[in-house]
């Protein structure tokens, strides 16, 4: 795959406005640190990165490199210390908690490593969850959920509970839940990390389809070299900084 540019080239078919492509995710001088006792531990330093619409980008790096933190910031579930982070033109660092929650509901689809399904809800109800925050009626929600589950190949498992599904099937339910609201971006944190090779390939295939057929922008954190091959672009992080593919720091 390609090396990690700070400004990822646009994928084929990406929208242009007056010749310039507006990135769907625009990150400028983003920094984040955590407190550990009295110590301040920097996790991300001065990150600048643009992700064009319709991209499928993989964030790679060793443990502690800050890739999951960067993904969390993009998804609006964590806040940076400094810098600007725009998603679809909106600076999400300025949003209050409640506004951010509404923003996530409308713009972000989540795929977690351990699926994070509600164990007391069946596949249908799990996929329906994000739709409860919309104004859709029961019938519309049903139609959408059935379509989504059909797309991930689980029409016959709608009334199954997570503990009645394999890991791969649970992750497919999670993917259906991620795109059910037609979000702006889909963030996936190690989506194949808990799966066998075959299931992992199925999941990556689904993410590729979401990207190529539905035009969804997918941002994926992964350690998996095979998973990286599904991405259009790869961005490497080391010690909280973007680096070129060979480990050289990007300036």
């Amino acid at each position: 795959m390609t090396a990690s540019p700070t400004r990822a080239p646009p994928p084929e078919g990406a929208g242009e406005a007056g010749g310039a492509i507006r990135p769907i995710v625009a990150i400028a001088h983003l920094s984040k640190s955590y407190r550990r006792g009295d110590q301040v531990v920097p996790v991300l330093r001065d990150i600048t990165l643009d992700i064009p619409p319709g991209d499928f980008i993989a964030l790679m790096g060793p443990s502690g490199s800050g890739k999951s933190t960067l993904l969390n910031l993009i998804a609006g579930i964590d806040k940076p210390d400094a810098g600007e982070l725009r998603v679809d033109g909106e600076d999400i660092t300025r949003l209050a908690e409640a506004e951010l929650a509404d923003w996530r509901a409308a713009h972000v689809g989540f795929v977690f490593q351990f699926y994070n399904l509600m164990p007391v809800l069946d596949a249908f109800e799990n996929v329906e969850l994000p739709l409860l925050l919309t104004s859709l009626g029961k019938r519309d929600r049903r139609e959408r959920v059935e379509t989504a589950l059909a797309l991930v190949g689980l029409s016959d498992r709608m009334d199954h509970y997570p503990n009645e599904l394999s890991g791969g099937q649970q992750q497919r339910v999670a993917i259906a839940r991620a795109f059910i609201t037609d979000p702006t971006i889909i963030v996936a944190d190690e989506p194949t990390g808990d799966l066998d090779r075959k299931s992992a390939e199925d999941i990556l295939g689904l993410l590729r389809r979401l990207n190529s057929e539905m035009g969804k922008t997918v941002i994926m954190v992964t350690h998996d070299r095979h998973a990286v091959e599904s991405a259009r672009h790869v961005t490497h992080l080391e010690k909280g900084e973007l680096v070129a593919g060979d480990g050289e720091k990007v300036t």
Binding site: I77, R104, P119, V120, L129, L132, L133
Partner: protein
Amino acid sequence: MYFKLVFKNIFRHRLRSLLTIVGLVVAILAFGLLQTVVHAWYAGADMASTTRLITRNATSLVFPIPIYYRERIKAVDGVKAVAVSNWFGGIYKDQSFGNFFPQFAVDHDIWFDLYPEFRTRPDELLAWKKDRSGAMVGRQLADQHGFKVGDVIALKGAIFPGTWEFTVRGIFEPRDDTTITRQMYFHWDYLNERMKQLFPKRAEYAGLFIVQIADPGRAAEISRTIDREFKNSLAETLTETEKAFQLGFVAQTETIVMAVRIVSFVVIVIIFAVVANTMAMTARERMAEYATLKALGFGPGFVAGLIGGESVMITVLGGLLGILATFPVAAVFKSLLGSMFPVFQVAPGTVAMQAAAAVGVGVLAGLAPAIRAGRVKIVDGLRYIG
């Protein structure tokens, strides 16, 4: 979906939920029974009338007052009627607690006019009034010992020596469940006659007077007037409302009542700790789920509501079962302790307190975990392994 989530979450750990609910049932039941015991203690005061005053010897209840006081009290403005009442204290069969029941020598001609809460049959009342050694027994007492009209009750006098025989001429019924009918009344004249014969110095005395007044609003004023009437006499009087008089008896055992009351609340505190611990464990285990819901866009209120709602639903379920169990268990208690508590019934106020305790425990026990779940940072919650 909210209620579905709350309801399904309750039964995720069936054994834990079951044990918590069983604990709640026992606690709410125990609370209800102990409150009923406290209520039963005050039964005498509860059935007191606002139109009745009690005049007794100011020195102590054990000292009698002359019978001629009756006419002077009757002459006080606002007094409608005056009746004598004397504690008899006779022993039925033996001195066992099960055979104890109160007996009073009373003014037979007006007694039941003063106590409309006792329902009598006119023919039985007439027969009693005509028979000098006749007795009227209450329904509870009759049922307890199997007394029937025509039976002869033999009592061994403890305060008034000798063997005393009374013929049951009637059985009076309670007006409602709060009326105590575990006592026996007989003619004061009969007692006084025997005293005249055996112990003339003890004749012509009354234990106390029941004073019927027309206007309850004048109770304090009439009481003061009666007591002023006998100021500096050989037997000064103390007049008080019937309720105050009854509460005076309860005050003698106030420490026990207080202990029972405290224990009833301690039971609630204990179950609160149990439920709070259960909810804290539950919330801790589900932190990743709450974080996921927040990531999906659900607000802190929804997430806090899940754990708070679950807590309240568990305690309401346990409380409801506890309240339902209180009635049959109280009935068993009553059958076992009937001689100690003539009125032992679960009052509506007790049920309300049980319900309030259940809901209160649910709200308070779920409060801290709910706030914690609502405030969990998504990135921290997602890392949480319960």
